[in-house]
Protein backbone atom coordinates (compact mmCIF):
# COMPACT_ATOMS: atom_id res chain seq x y z
CA UNK A 1 0.00 0.00 0.00
CA UNK A 2 2.69 2.49 1.04
CA UNK A 3 4.74 1.49 -1.95
CA UNK A 4 1.79 2.21 -4.24
CA UNK A 5 1.20 5.65 -2.70
CA UNK A 6 4.85 6.48 -3.29
CA UNK A 7 4.61 5.43 -6.91
CA UNK A 8 1.49 7.52 -7.40
CA UNK A 9 3.33 10.56 -6.01
CA UNK A 10 6.23 9.88 -8.37
CA UNK A 11 3.87 9.31 -11.26
CA UNK A 12 1.93 12.53 -10.70
CA UNK A 13 5.21 14.46 -10.55
CA UNK A 14 6.41 12.96 -13.80
CA UNK A 15 2.94 13.40 -15.29
CA UNK A 16 3.02 17.13 -14.49
CA UNK A 17 6.14 17.46 -16.60
CA UNK A 18 4.56 15.54 -19.49
CA UNK A 19 1.36 17.56 -19.19
CA UNK A 20 3.22 20.86 -19.51
CA UNK A 21 4.98 19.65 -22.66
CA UNK A 22 1.84 18.03 -24.06
CA UNK A 23 -0.03 21.35 -23.95
CA UNK A 24 2.43 22.74 -26.48
CA UNK A 25 1.76 19.88 -28.88
CA UNK A 26 -1.97 20.03 -28.54
CA UNK A 27 -2.26 23.82 -28.87
CA UNK A 28 -0.18 23.95 -32.00
CA UNK A 29 -2.11 21.04 -33.46
CA UNK A 30 -5.39 22.74 -32.59
CA UNK A 31 -4.50 25.97 -34.30
CA UNK A 32 -2.55 24.92 -37.39
CA UNK A 33 -3.17 21.19 -37.59
CA UNK A 34 0.46 20.13 -37.51
CA UNK A 35 2.48 18.09 -35.04
CA UNK A 36 5.40 20.25 -34.01
CA UNK A 37 8.03 17.53 -33.77
CA UNK A 38 10.60 20.10 -32.69
CA UNK A 39 8.67 20.74 -29.48
CA UNK A 40 10.67 18.15 -27.53
CA UNK A 41 13.83 20.04 -28.48
CA UNK A 42 12.27 23.30 -27.34
CA UNK A 43 11.76 21.64 -23.97
CA UNK A 44 15.41 20.53 -24.02
CA UNK A 45 16.42 24.15 -24.70
CA UNK A 46 14.31 25.09 -21.68
CA UNK A 47 16.21 22.59 -19.56
CA UNK A 48 19.56 23.97 -20.72
CA UNK A 49 18.61 27.60 -20.21
CA UNK A 50 17.44 26.67 -16.69
CA UNK A 51 20.71 24.93 -16.00
CA UNK A 52 22.68 27.91 -17.22
CA UNK A 53 20.39 30.18 -15.23
CA UNK A 54 21.00 28.24 -12.03
CA UNK A 55 24.75 28.46 -12.57
CA UNK A 56 24.48 32.19 -13.27
CA UNK A 57 22.47 32.66 -10.07
CA UNK A 58 25.24 30.83 -8.23
CA UNK A 59 27.87 33.10 -9.77
CA UNK A 60 25.85 36.20 -8.93
CA UNK A 61 25.61 35.00 -5.37
CA UNK A 62 21.80 34.76 -5.27
CA UNK A 63 21.62 32.11 -2.58
CA UNK A 64 18.01 32.45 -1.47
CA UNK A 65 16.58 29.50 -3.39
CA UNK A 66 12.99 30.72 -4.00
CA UNK A 67 14.22 34.00 -5.50
CA UNK A 68 16.88 32.26 -7.57
CA UNK A 69 14.42 29.70 -8.94
CA UNK A 70 11.82 32.35 -9.67
CA UNK A 71 14.32 34.39 -11.67
CA UNK A 72 15.61 31.32 -13.48
CA UNK A 73 12.05 30.32 -14.28
CA UNK A 74 11.19 33.70 -15.78
CA UNK A 75 14.42 33.95 -17.75
CA UNK A 76 14.14 30.41 -19.04
CA UNK A 77 10.52 30.89 -20.08
CA UNK A 78 11.39 34.10 -21.91
CA UNK A 79 14.41 32.70 -23.72
CA UNK A 80 12.71 29.43 -24.63
CA UNK A 81 9.64 31.33 -25.82
CA UNK A 82 11.94 33.25 -28.14
CA UNK A 83 13.17 29.94 -29.55
CA UNK A 84 9.60 28.74 -30.01
CA UNK A 85 8.67 31.95 -31.77
CA UNK A 86 11.73 31.77 -34.04
CA UNK A 87 11.10 28.16 -34.99
CA UNK A 88 7.58 29.03 -36.15
CA UNK A 89 8.77 32.12 -37.96
CA UNK A 90 11.69 30.49 -39.77
CA UNK A 91 10.58 26.92 -40.35
CA UNK A 92 6.77 26.80 -40.42
CA UNK A 93 5.31 30.11 -41.47
CA UNK A 94 6.93 30.14 -44.93
CA UNK A 95 5.38 26.72 -45.53
CA UNK A 96 1.85 27.69 -44.54
CA UNK A 97 -0.51 26.87 -47.37
CA UNK A 98 1.93 24.31 -48.69
CA UNK A 99 1.12 20.59 -48.67
CA UNK A 100 0.42 19.06 -45.27
CA UNK A 101 3.63 17.10 -44.96
CA UNK A 102 5.94 20.07 -45.63
CA UNK A 103 5.88 21.65 -42.15
CA UNK A 104 6.15 18.19 -40.61
CA UNK A 105 9.37 17.49 -42.48
CA UNK A 106 10.57 20.97 -41.61
CA UNK A 107 9.83 20.20 -37.93
CA UNK A 108 12.01 17.11 -38.03
CA UNK A 109 14.75 19.22 -39.59
CA UNK A 110 14.45 21.81 -36.83
CA UNK A 111 14.57 19.05 -34.26
CA UNK A 112 17.83 17.66 -35.66
CA UNK A 113 19.25 21.16 -35.97
CA UNK A 114 18.47 22.10 -32.36
CA UNK A 115 19.94 18.86 -31.00
CA UNK A 116 23.17 19.41 -32.86
CA UNK A 117 23.24 23.09 -32.02
CA UNK A 118 23.08 22.31 -28.30
CA UNK A 119 25.50 19.40 -28.66
CA UNK A 120 28.07 21.65 -30.30
CA UNK A 121 27.55 24.73 -28.17
CA UNK A 122 27.18 22.96 -24.81
CA UNK A 123 29.08 19.73 -25.35
CA UNK A 124 27.77 16.20 -25.70
CA UNK A 125 28.44 14.99 -22.16
CA UNK A 126 25.57 14.84 -19.65
CA UNK A 127 25.43 17.93 -17.45
CA UNK A 128 24.90 17.26 -13.75
CA UNK A 129 23.89 19.80 -11.11
CA UNK A 130 23.77 19.28 -7.36
CA UNK A 131 20.29 19.18 -5.80
CA UNK A 132 18.88 22.67 -5.32
CA UNK A 133 15.83 21.74 -3.25
CA UNK A 134 16.42 19.08 -0.60
CA UNK A 135 14.25 17.33 1.91
CA UNK A 136 10.56 16.57 2.07
CA UNK A 137 7.60 15.39 4.07
CA UNK A 138 7.53 11.84 5.40
CA UNK A 139 3.91 10.95 4.94
CA UNK A 140 3.69 7.42 6.35
CA UNK A 141 5.78 4.42 7.19
CA UNK A 142 4.80 0.80 6.66
CA UNK A 143 5.33 -1.98 9.17
CA UNK A 144 8.23 -3.24 7.08
CA UNK A 145 9.95 0.13 7.36
CA UNK A 146 9.17 1.66 3.93
CA UNK A 147 8.64 5.40 4.24
CA UNK A 148 6.47 7.33 1.80
CA UNK A 149 8.11 10.66 1.02
CA UNK A 150 6.73 13.68 -0.76
CA UNK A 151 9.85 15.70 -1.43
CA UNK A 152 9.67 19.50 -1.41
CA UNK A 153 10.75 19.37 -5.02
CA UNK A 154 7.85 17.09 -5.97
CA UNK A 155 5.47 19.37 -4.12
CA UNK A 156 6.99 22.36 -5.93
CA UNK A 157 6.54 20.66 -9.31
CA UNK A 158 2.93 19.66 -8.64
CA UNK A 159 1.91 23.02 -7.16
CA UNK A 160 3.63 24.99 -9.92
CA UNK A 161 1.87 22.85 -12.53
CA UNK A 162 -1.51 23.49 -10.91
CA UNK A 163 -0.85 27.23 -10.72
CA UNK A 164 0.16 27.31 -14.38
CA UNK A 165 -2.92 25.31 -15.40
CA UNK A 166 -5.21 27.73 -13.59
CA UNK A 167 -3.50 30.73 -15.14
CA UNK A 168 -3.49 29.10 -18.53
CA UNK A 169 -7.18 28.22 -18.37
CA UNK A 170 -7.94 31.82 -17.48
CA UNK A 171 -5.84 33.02 -20.41
CA UNK A 172 -7.62 30.76 -22.90
CA UNK A 173 -11.17 31.33 -21.70
CA UNK A 174 -11.19 34.94 -20.51
CA UNK A 175 -8.65 37.04 -22.39
CA UNK A 176 -8.80 38.48 -25.88
CA UNK A 177 -5.70 36.50 -26.87
CA UNK A 178 -7.37 33.28 -25.72
CA UNK A 179 -10.53 34.11 -27.63
CA UNK A 180 -8.48 34.89 -30.72
CA UNK A 181 -6.73 31.53 -30.36
CA UNK A 182 -9.99 29.67 -30.08
CA UNK A 183 -11.36 31.55 -33.08
CA UNK A 184 -8.28 30.64 -35.15
CA UNK A 185 -8.56 27.06 -33.98
CA UNK A 186 -12.17 26.84 -35.15
CA UNK A 187 -11.98 28.80 -38.41
CA UNK A 188 -8.85 30.67 -39.43
CA UNK A 189 -10.41 32.37 -42.45
CA UNK A 190 -13.31 33.68 -40.40
CA UNK A 191 -10.94 34.78 -37.66
CA UNK A 192 -9.14 37.02 -40.13
CA UNK A 193 -12.50 38.29 -41.44
CA UNK A 194 -13.39 39.63 -38.00
CA UNK A 195 -10.06 41.44 -37.83
CA UNK A 196 -7.88 38.98 -35.92
CA UNK A 197 -4.22 38.91 -36.88
CA UNK A 198 -3.98 35.17 -37.48
CA UNK A 199 -0.20 35.07 -37.95
CA UNK A 200 0.36 36.88 -34.69
CA UNK A 201 -2.06 34.58 -32.88
CA UNK A 202 -0.22 31.53 -34.19
CA UNK A 203 3.09 33.05 -33.09
CA UNK A 204 1.69 33.60 -29.60
CA UNK A 205 0.59 29.97 -29.50
CA UNK A 206 4.15 28.85 -30.12
CA UNK A 207 5.39 31.31 -27.53
CA UNK A 208 2.98 29.98 -24.91
CA UNK A 209 3.73 26.34 -25.70
CA UNK A 210 7.47 26.98 -25.51
CA UNK A 211 7.17 28.87 -22.20
CA UNK A 212 5.32 25.94 -20.63
CA UNK A 213 7.89 23.51 -22.06
CA UNK A 214 10.60 25.65 -20.45
CA UNK A 215 8.94 25.17 -17.07
CA UNK A 216 8.94 21.43 -17.71
CA UNK A 217 12.62 21.66 -18.68
CA UNK A 218 13.48 23.41 -15.45
CA UNK A 219 11.52 20.87 -13.41
CA UNK A 220 13.35 17.98 -15.01
CA UNK A 221 16.72 19.65 -14.52
CA UNK A 222 15.99 19.99 -10.82
CA UNK A 223 14.29 16.60 -10.47
CA UNK A 224 16.82 14.37 -12.18
CA UNK A 225 19.84 16.62 -11.65
CA UNK A 226 21.30 15.67 -15.01
CA UNK A 227 20.44 16.66 -18.57
CA UNK A 228 21.94 16.25 -22.00
CA UNK A 229 21.21 17.43 -25.52
CA UNK A 230 19.19 14.31 -26.31
CA UNK A 231 16.53 14.46 -23.56
CA UNK A 232 14.06 16.25 -25.83
CA UNK A 233 13.57 13.26 -28.05
CA UNK A 234 12.13 10.80 -25.56
CA UNK A 235 10.30 13.38 -23.46
CA UNK A 236 8.90 14.88 -26.63
CA UNK A 237 7.54 11.60 -27.90
CA UNK A 238 6.07 10.75 -24.51
CA UNK A 239 4.39 14.13 -24.22
CA UNK A 240 3.12 13.63 -27.75
CA UNK A 241 1.75 10.26 -26.64
CA UNK A 242 0.09 12.05 -23.73
CA UNK A 243 -1.49 14.57 -26.10
CA UNK A 244 -2.78 11.78 -28.35
CA UNK A 245 -4.07 9.79 -25.38
CA UNK A 246 -5.96 12.80 -24.07
CA UNK A 247 -7.20 13.70 -27.54
CA UNK A 248 -4.98 15.87 -29.70
CA UNK A 249 -6.30 19.43 -29.82
CA UNK A 250 -7.93 19.17 -26.39
CA UNK A 251 -6.26 21.13 -23.58
CA UNK A 252 -7.83 19.25 -20.65
CA UNK A 253 -6.97 16.12 -22.64
CA UNK A 254 -3.29 17.04 -22.70
CA UNK A 255 -3.23 17.40 -18.93
CA UNK A 256 -5.15 14.19 -18.36
CA UNK A 257 -2.96 12.34 -20.86
CA UNK A 258 0.20 13.69 -19.27
CA UNK A 259 -0.84 12.54 -15.81
CA UNK A 260 -1.88 9.11 -17.09
CA UNK A 261 1.38 8.57 -18.95
CA UNK A 262 3.33 9.67 -15.86
CA UNK A 263 1.36 7.27 -13.67
CA UNK A 264 1.62 4.38 -16.11
CA UNK A 265 5.35 4.87 -16.39
CA UNK A 266 5.88 5.08 -12.62
CA UNK A 267 3.70 2.08 -11.86
CA UNK A 268 5.14 0.01 -14.68
CA UNK A 269 8.67 0.76 -13.46
CA UNK A 270 7.71 -0.16 -9.90
CA UNK A 271 5.85 -3.40 -10.53
CA UNK A 272 7.19 -4.74 -13.81
CA UNK A 273 10.38 -3.46 -15.23
CA UNK A 274 12.24 -0.16 -15.31
CA UNK A 275 13.92 -1.14 -18.57
CA UNK A 276 10.58 -1.48 -20.35
CA UNK A 277 8.92 1.68 -19.05
CA UNK A 278 9.23 3.38 -22.44
CA UNK A 279 7.65 0.36 -24.07
CA UNK A 280 4.66 0.77 -21.76
CA UNK A 281 4.15 4.37 -22.80
CA UNK A 282 4.46 3.64 -26.49
CA UNK A 283 2.20 0.62 -26.29
CA UNK A 284 -0.41 3.05 -25.04
CA UNK A 285 0.23 5.22 -28.11
CA UNK A 286 -0.28 2.25 -30.44
CA UNK A 287 -3.43 1.11 -28.62
CA UNK A 288 -4.96 4.58 -28.62
CA UNK A 289 -4.22 5.07 -32.30
CA UNK A 290 -5.74 1.68 -33.08
CA UNK A 291 -8.86 1.78 -30.95
CA UNK A 292 -9.61 5.38 -30.09
CA UNK A 293 -7.75 7.72 -32.45
CA UNK A 294 -9.64 10.77 -31.16
CA UNK A 295 -8.30 10.12 -27.64
CA UNK A 296 -10.10 10.28 -24.32
CA UNK A 297 -11.41 13.84 -24.55
CA UNK A 298 -10.86 14.60 -28.22
CA UNK A 299 -13.45 15.34 -30.86
CA UNK A 300 -13.84 12.98 -33.80
CA UNK A 301 -12.37 14.36 -37.03
CA UNK A 302 -15.67 14.62 -38.87
CA UNK A 303 -17.69 17.67 -38.03
CA UNK A 304 -21.17 18.67 -38.90
CA UNK A 305 -21.02 21.58 -41.30
Amino acid sequence: MEYLVQQVINGVTLGSVYALIAIGYTMVYGIIGMINFAHGEVYMIGAFTSLIGIIVMGLLGVTWVPLALFMVLLASMAITALYGWSVERVAYRPLRGSFRLAPLISAIGVSIFLQNYVQISQGARPKPIPPVIRGGFELMTSSSGFTVTLSYLQLFIIVLTIVLMVGFTYLITQTSLGRAQRACEQDRTMASLIGIDVDRTISMTFVMGAALAAVAGMMVTLYYGVIDFYIGFLAGIKAFTAAVLGGIGSLPGAVLGGLLIGLIEALWSAYFSVEYKDVAAFTILVLVLLFRPSGLLGRPEIEKV
Binding site: R179, Q186, T189, S192, I194, G195, E303, V305
Partner: protein, 240 residues
Protein backbone atom coordinates in the same frame (compact mmCIF):
# COMPACT_ATOMS: atom_id res chain seq x y z
CA UNK B 1 -21.85 63.36 -57.37
CA UNK B 2 -19.69 62.49 -54.38
CA UNK B 3 -16.90 59.96 -54.60
CA UNK B 4 -18.08 56.39 -54.12
CA UNK B 5 -17.54 54.72 -50.75
CA UNK B 6 -16.18 51.67 -52.49
CA UNK B 7 -14.65 51.57 -55.91
CA UNK B 8 -13.44 48.37 -57.50
CA UNK B 9 -11.45 48.80 -60.69
CA UNK B 10 -10.37 46.06 -63.08
CA UNK B 11 -10.14 43.54 -60.27
CA UNK B 12 -8.62 40.18 -61.14
CA UNK B 13 -8.18 37.29 -58.74
CA UNK B 14 -7.31 33.62 -59.01
CA UNK B 15 -7.67 30.48 -56.99
CA UNK B 16 -4.58 28.51 -57.94
CA UNK B 17 -4.49 28.27 -61.72
CA UNK B 18 -8.14 29.27 -62.19
CA UNK B 19 -8.81 32.95 -62.75
CA UNK B 20 -12.17 33.57 -61.10
CA UNK B 21 -12.33 37.34 -61.66
CA UNK B 22 -11.30 38.76 -65.01
CA UNK B 23 -11.43 42.49 -64.50
CA UNK B 24 -14.42 43.57 -62.42
CA UNK B 25 -15.57 47.17 -61.92
CA UNK B 26 -18.06 48.01 -59.19
CA UNK B 27 -18.98 51.24 -57.43
CA UNK B 28 -20.95 51.55 -54.23
CA UNK B 29 -22.11 54.84 -52.75
CA UNK B 30 -22.73 55.56 -49.14
CA UNK B 31 -26.22 54.57 -47.99
CA UNK B 32 -26.90 52.26 -50.92
CA UNK B 33 -27.87 48.65 -51.06
CA UNK B 34 -26.12 47.23 -54.10
CA UNK B 35 -26.60 43.65 -55.11
CA UNK B 36 -24.42 41.41 -57.18
CA UNK B 37 -26.31 38.58 -58.82
CA UNK B 38 -25.09 35.74 -60.94
CA UNK B 39 -25.08 31.98 -61.31
CA UNK B 40 -23.10 29.51 -59.27
CA UNK B 41 -19.40 29.85 -60.02
CA UNK B 42 -19.71 33.30 -61.57
CA UNK B 43 -17.14 34.63 -59.12
CA UNK B 44 -19.47 36.44 -56.72
CA UNK B 45 -17.99 35.09 -53.50
CA UNK B 46 -14.49 35.45 -54.88
CA UNK B 47 -15.19 39.14 -55.42
CA UNK B 48 -16.26 39.64 -51.81
CA UNK B 49 -13.36 37.62 -50.48
CA UNK B 50 -10.67 39.20 -52.65
CA UNK B 51 -11.90 42.66 -51.64
CA UNK B 52 -11.01 41.47 -48.15
CA UNK B 53 -7.63 40.18 -49.25
CA UNK B 54 -8.41 36.45 -49.50
CA UNK B 55 -7.13 35.73 -52.10
CA UNK B 56 -5.16 38.89 -52.76
CA UNK B 57 -6.15 40.44 -56.10
CA UNK B 58 -3.67 39.75 -58.87
CA UNK B 59 -4.52 43.00 -60.65
CA UNK B 60 -6.79 46.00 -60.30
CA UNK B 61 -7.58 48.22 -57.36
CA UNK B 62 -9.99 48.38 -54.45
CA UNK B 63 -10.55 51.86 -53.02
CA UNK B 64 -12.50 52.17 -49.78
CA UNK B 65 -13.34 55.67 -48.55
CA UNK B 66 -10.59 57.11 -50.74
CA UNK B 67 -7.99 54.68 -49.48
CA UNK B 68 -6.34 52.03 -51.62
CA UNK B 69 -6.81 48.76 -49.75
CA UNK B 70 -5.62 46.47 -52.53
CA UNK B 71 -3.04 44.01 -51.23
CA UNK B 72 -3.57 44.86 -47.56
CA UNK B 73 -3.81 41.89 -45.23
CA UNK B 74 -7.30 40.74 -44.36
CA UNK B 75 -7.26 41.67 -40.70
CA UNK B 76 -6.15 45.21 -41.55
CA UNK B 77 -8.93 45.63 -44.08
CA UNK B 78 -11.52 44.38 -41.59
CA UNK B 79 -10.41 47.04 -39.13
CA UNK B 80 -11.18 49.88 -41.54
CA UNK B 81 -14.96 49.68 -41.26
CA UNK B 82 -15.79 46.73 -43.49
CA UNK B 83 -17.48 43.60 -42.18
CA UNK B 84 -18.50 40.45 -43.95
CA UNK B 85 -21.05 37.75 -43.37
CA UNK B 86 -19.35 35.16 -45.57
CA UNK B 87 -20.49 32.30 -47.73
CA UNK B 88 -21.49 29.36 -45.55
CA UNK B 89 -21.94 31.73 -42.55
CA UNK B 90 -18.80 30.42 -40.83
CA UNK B 91 -20.14 30.59 -37.30
CA UNK B 92 -17.54 29.51 -34.72
CA UNK B 93 -19.14 26.14 -33.97
CA UNK B 94 -17.74 25.58 -30.48
CA UNK B 95 -18.41 29.06 -29.19
CA UNK B 96 -21.73 30.17 -27.79
CA UNK B 97 -23.90 32.70 -29.59
CA UNK B 98 -22.73 35.31 -27.10
CA UNK B 99 -19.06 34.45 -27.68
CA UNK B 100 -19.59 34.59 -31.44
CA UNK B 101 -21.01 38.09 -31.05
CA UNK B 102 -18.12 39.04 -28.83
CA UNK B 103 -15.73 37.83 -31.53
CA UNK B 104 -17.47 40.14 -33.97
CA UNK B 105 -16.60 43.03 -31.71
CA UNK B 106 -12.86 42.39 -31.39
CA UNK B 107 -11.99 45.44 -33.46
CA UNK B 108 -14.21 47.90 -31.58
CA UNK B 109 -14.01 49.68 -28.27
CA UNK B 110 -15.23 47.23 -25.57
CA UNK B 111 -17.23 50.11 -24.06
CA UNK B 112 -19.72 49.79 -26.92
CA UNK B 113 -20.26 46.10 -26.42
CA UNK B 114 -23.34 46.07 -24.19
CA UNK B 115 -25.14 48.62 -26.30
CA UNK B 116 -24.28 46.82 -29.55
CA UNK B 117 -25.32 43.50 -28.07
CA UNK B 118 -28.66 44.96 -27.08
CA UNK B 119 -29.14 46.21 -30.63
CA UNK B 120 -28.28 42.80 -32.06
CA UNK B 121 -30.79 41.10 -29.76
CA UNK B 122 -33.48 43.62 -30.66
CA UNK B 123 -32.82 42.94 -34.32
CA UNK B 124 -32.84 39.16 -33.88
CA UNK B 125 -34.76 38.23 -30.69
CA UNK B 126 -34.12 34.61 -31.54
CA UNK B 127 -30.41 35.07 -30.80
CA UNK B 128 -31.20 36.34 -27.32
CA UNK B 129 -33.09 33.13 -26.56
CA UNK B 130 -30.18 31.10 -27.87
CA UNK B 131 -27.36 33.20 -26.42
CA UNK B 132 -25.75 30.43 -24.39
CA UNK B 133 -26.14 27.78 -27.03
CA UNK B 134 -23.16 26.71 -29.11
CA UNK B 135 -23.00 28.12 -32.62
CA UNK B 136 -22.72 24.68 -34.20
CA UNK B 137 -26.07 23.59 -32.77
CA UNK B 138 -28.11 26.43 -34.31
CA UNK B 139 -30.42 25.95 -37.27
CA UNK B 140 -29.39 27.36 -40.64
CA UNK B 141 -31.61 30.40 -40.24
CA UNK B 142 -30.33 31.14 -36.76
CA UNK B 143 -26.76 30.77 -37.97
CA UNK B 144 -27.45 33.28 -40.73
CA UNK B 145 -28.92 35.73 -38.24
CA UNK B 146 -25.88 35.24 -36.05
CA UNK B 147 -23.50 35.76 -38.99
CA UNK B 148 -25.14 39.09 -39.83
CA UNK B 149 -25.33 40.14 -36.19
CA UNK B 150 -21.68 39.24 -35.68
CA UNK B 151 -20.68 41.31 -38.71
CA UNK B 152 -22.65 44.29 -37.34
CA UNK B 153 -20.92 44.03 -33.95
CA UNK B 154 -17.80 45.60 -35.48
CA UNK B 155 -19.81 48.78 -36.28
CA UNK B 156 -18.96 48.66 -39.98
CA UNK B 157 -19.79 51.37 -42.48
CA UNK B 158 -19.87 48.83 -45.30
CA UNK B 159 -21.57 45.49 -44.79
CA UNK B 160 -20.79 42.63 -47.17
CA UNK B 161 -23.35 39.83 -47.25
CA UNK B 162 -22.71 36.63 -49.14
CA UNK B 163 -25.89 34.73 -50.01
CA UNK B 164 -27.79 35.22 -46.79
CA UNK B 165 -30.80 33.41 -48.27
CA UNK B 166 -29.00 30.21 -49.22
CA UNK B 167 -30.73 27.08 -48.03
CA UNK B 168 -33.27 28.90 -45.87
CA UNK B 169 -37.03 28.59 -45.71
CA UNK B 170 -38.86 31.42 -47.54
CA UNK B 171 -40.27 32.84 -44.32
CA UNK B 172 -36.76 33.14 -42.82
CA UNK B 173 -35.47 34.68 -46.04
CA UNK B 174 -38.16 37.35 -45.85
CA UNK B 175 -37.29 38.03 -42.24
CA UNK B 176 -33.58 38.40 -42.97
CA UNK B 177 -34.18 40.62 -45.98
CA UNK B 178 -36.46 42.76 -43.85
CA UNK B 179 -33.63 43.24 -41.35
CA UNK B 180 -31.24 44.23 -44.14
CA UNK B 181 -33.79 46.77 -45.35
CA UNK B 182 -34.15 48.16 -41.82
CA UNK B 183 -30.45 48.55 -41.07
CA UNK B 184 -30.08 50.35 -44.37
CA UNK B 185 -33.07 52.62 -43.86
CA UNK B 186 -32.66 53.32 -40.16
CA UNK B 187 -28.90 53.32 -39.69
CA UNK B 188 -27.92 54.33 -43.18
CA UNK B 189 -25.78 51.20 -43.49
CA UNK B 190 -24.23 50.67 -46.90
CA UNK B 191 -24.78 47.08 -48.01
CA UNK B 192 -23.17 45.03 -50.75
CA UNK B 193 -25.31 41.95 -51.15
CA UNK B 194 -24.29 38.91 -53.15
CA UNK B 195 -27.25 36.72 -54.07
CA UNK B 196 -28.36 33.88 -56.27
CA UNK B 197 -31.92 34.61 -55.27
CA UNK B 198 -32.05 37.38 -57.85
CA UNK B 199 -35.71 38.29 -57.50
CA UNK B 200 -35.56 39.00 -53.79
CA UNK B 201 -32.21 40.72 -54.10
CA UNK B 202 -33.41 43.03 -56.87
CA UNK B 203 -36.55 43.87 -54.90
CA UNK B 204 -34.38 44.90 -51.97
CA UNK B 205 -31.45 46.67 -53.61
CA UNK B 206 -31.20 50.13 -55.16
CA UNK B 207 -28.75 49.10 -57.84
CA UNK B 208 -27.41 45.84 -59.15
CA UNK B 209 -24.60 44.23 -61.08
CA UNK B 210 -24.82 40.95 -62.95
CA UNK B 211 -21.67 38.87 -62.82
CA UNK B 212 -20.99 36.04 -65.27
CA UNK B 213 -17.76 34.30 -66.15
CA UNK B 214 -15.77 36.57 -63.86
CA UNK B 215 -16.94 39.79 -65.50
CA UNK B 216 -19.72 42.30 -64.99
CA UNK B 217 -22.22 41.62 -67.77
CA UNK B 218 -24.78 44.23 -66.88
CA UNK B 219 -25.48 46.89 -64.33
CA UNK B 220 -28.18 49.39 -63.55
CA UNK B 221 -30.90 50.21 -61.10
CA UNK B 222 -32.78 47.25 -59.72
CA UNK B 223 -35.93 48.35 -61.53
CA UNK B 224 -34.07 48.38 -64.84
CA UNK B 225 -32.67 44.91 -64.32
CA UNK B 226 -36.00 43.53 -63.10
CA UNK B 227 -37.50 44.70 -66.38
CA UNK B 228 -34.64 43.48 -68.54
CA UNK B 229 -35.51 40.56 -70.81
CA UNK B 230 -32.09 38.88 -70.56
CA UNK B 231 -32.03 39.12 -66.80
CA UNK B 232 -35.54 37.74 -66.58
CA UNK B 233 -34.68 34.82 -68.79
CA UNK B 234 -31.40 33.95 -67.10
CA UNK B 235 -32.02 34.68 -63.44
CA UNK B 236 -35.67 35.27 -62.69
CA UNK B 237 -37.74 32.73 -64.61
CA UNK B 238 -38.20 29.42 -62.93
CA UNK B 239 -40.34 30.32 -59.96
CA UNK B 240 -38.30 32.30 -57.48
Amino acid sequence: MTAPMLKIEGLRASYGAIEALKGVDVEIHEGEIVTLIGANGAGKSTLLMSMCGKPKPSAGRVIFEGRDITGMTTHHIMRLGIAQSPEGRRIFPRMTVLENLRMGAVVTDPAHFDQDLERAFTMFPRLKERQNQRGGTLSGGEQQMLAIARALMSRPRLLLLDEPSLGLAPIIVRQIFQVIREINAEQGMTVFLVEQNAFHALKLAHRAYVLAGGKVQMSGTSAELLGNEEVRAAYLEGGH
